[in-house]
Symmetry: C2
């Protein structure tokens, strides 16, 4: 294995700082509003301040990174769409026509698409980063999705992608037909959630197709017994996907650089779960953006003690939930930086 | 009564149009995403298209209007803050230091503050519209909050304020110490909600203060028996407030001009309820932006069959929930206008 491709979990500091937290709380509580009246935005402002070690956090050059990959398990009929849609949608994103392009333009995010392992050769494009580990994973019903070396290489590639990006905010999204399956498997393996609860309709399965998906995934879990002692890289190799692995490496790196990390939906949530298993302090840097109607996603977020900003019944991925929540993150920083205090405005307190 | 001040409910067209609706649904369903995958944004895109009678709605020159007024019932100790805070907060808004200023700047909304009936003389200011009906309402525990003539004048002033504004989107907010009390009373009177359920902690009452508020409001309902037959203006005069009345008139006028109306929290919701009682078709133009934790607000929204875009535990008013939801409204229009279709992008359908 190439030394460059070895992945070491980066050092991540907890953002805990009782003194700064008290100063931020004081600043928030003396703004011209009733105590707590900005609700979730106040919690978020506190988190932003702690991440940036500042009473006046500033969000700069936000980046959107979409990791794309294919999945051998698609051959089992676990998705409503054919595998070819992954590469087609990558093309759509590079042409600027996908939902994520629309929202990235709206909010001024630079957009990069990373080929983590799409099952096709992709022509070069200025917004495409070629980081292909393989032409999709293996079918994890029969063998591990990837080797340990591939898992390490994918984590390292995520780190490298992250290191090259400017700014102090990053949003992660993904594209990969069938990728709710590895996400459901990782949720089950990492949290003990029952596979029936972890498995949802993805982009649109009917009842019979959902039952089929559940039985395929239950079989896969039997095929790959839990590692003992627990081994996050081993579970990732057996049950994961290249985009999930790369996003995990990127999240860990982003946190080690004290960036704000916007976490999209179920697949990005599975990466967050893995990242937290590898380095619990990563949690301090994650802003959970959307909760979908899928039971698995709700359980995943509960395991991470996460209260997402939005609940809009999205089930698209790509990072759309993260970008739709972004203006709220800006609003949290803005009220902290710009609102008058009771004293400065001459307003009576309670 | 001055003829200019008489209020006639403007003609409001239903936005229903089966043919346009089918074309919009077709356009949405052929975007490069799974069917329904943009969730609440799809419902919103449909509503925007129907309001503007267009498959490509365009949102222009969004306006924020904050109606401010005082309430005689504040003398009963139903608010956590002294009445003087209304005029102080109006000053804070005109100086640019309130939460609503921060969010209006963030999202490019022009902001107007309307003095609907603040209990103080306000110095002239370019962003202040002097529409004072009186120095606050009367204490509705003892007499009607306002006369019928005043209610009519307030509704007409709201109409006039609206008519003078450019753009095709308007957000309404309010400022008025004690104004959750008239909102709770109107909710009870218009929907049959029990006053105990309609009454909440407002900006921060403790348990004993909440019980006191509930008993004050229960007494007020006895003091002003329901009109028979139902008379919206009569109920507004007995139980309402000047900012609530003016916002009601402005909502009706905005709908008659086919503008998109962003409805903020509990107080704006009470105006929406009144507007709907006067002209049911107004409902087609209303976008409900935020649901707070207050039971009364949840019940009010349920009565309007509204599923708000955000749920962030805000309890500030001013229009903050409306402006925080605004980027989602833009996103709904943007995906409809900018996303590629399966055909144009060469992506396989399900």
């Amino acid at each position: 294995m190439n030394e460059k491709m070895r992945f070491q979990i980066p050092a991540i500091e907890s953002t805990a700082d009782a003194s700064l937290q008290a100063r931020l709380r004081h600043k928030i509580d003396h703004k011209t509003k009733p105590l707590g009246a900005l609700g979730a935005l106040e919690t978020l402002a506190l988190q932003l301040g702690l991440i940036q070690r500042s009473e006046s956090p500033v969000l700069q050059q936000p980046q959107m990174v979409v990791f794309a990959a294919d999945h051998g398990i698609a051959a089992e009929g676990v998705s409503a769409y054919p595998q070819a849609v992954t590469v087609q949608m990558v093309g759509n994103m590079l042409a600027g026509g996908a939902a994520i392009n629309v929202f990235a333009r709206q909010h001024g995010f630079a957009l990069q698409v990373v080929d983590a392992g799409v099952a096709a050769e992709l022509p070069a494009h200025p917004q495409l980063q070629p980081r292909k580990i393989a032409m999709g994973t293996k079918n994890l019903c029969h063998e591990p999705a990837m080797s340990r070396l591939q898992a390490q290489a994918a984590l390292a590639a995520g780190r490298d992608v992250m290191q090259a990006l400017p700014g102090n905010v990053v949003a992660f999204g993904e594209m990969g037909i069938a990728n709710t399956s590895p996400a459901a498997l990782l949720l089950t393996r990492l949290t003990g959630t029952r596979i029936e609860d972890a498995t949802g309709r993805g982009t649109g399965l009917d009842d019979a197709q959902l039952l089929h998906k559940q039985s395929v995934l239950a079989r896969a879990l039997v095929r790959h017994p839990a590692t003992e002692p627990f081994d996050a890289v081993g579970e990732l190799a057996a049950l994961g996907g290249f985009e999930i692995a790369m996003m995990t490496g990127a999240m860990l790196q982003a946190a080690s650089e004290r960036r704000v990390v916007l976490v999209d939906g179920f697949i990005a949530g599975a990466s967050a779960l893995l990242a937290q298993a590898m380095a619990p302090a990563v949690r301090d840097y994650l802003v959970f953006c959307h909760r979908s109607a899928e039971t698995g996603h709700r359980l995943l977020l509960a395991c991470l003690d996460a209260k997402p900003l939005l609940e809009l019944d999205l089930r698209l991925g790509e990072g759309t939930g993260a970008l739709l929540a972004w203006p709220l993150v800006q609003s949290a920083a803005n009220f902290l930086n710009e609102m008058a205090s009771f004293e400065s405005a001459g307003v009576s307190e309670k």
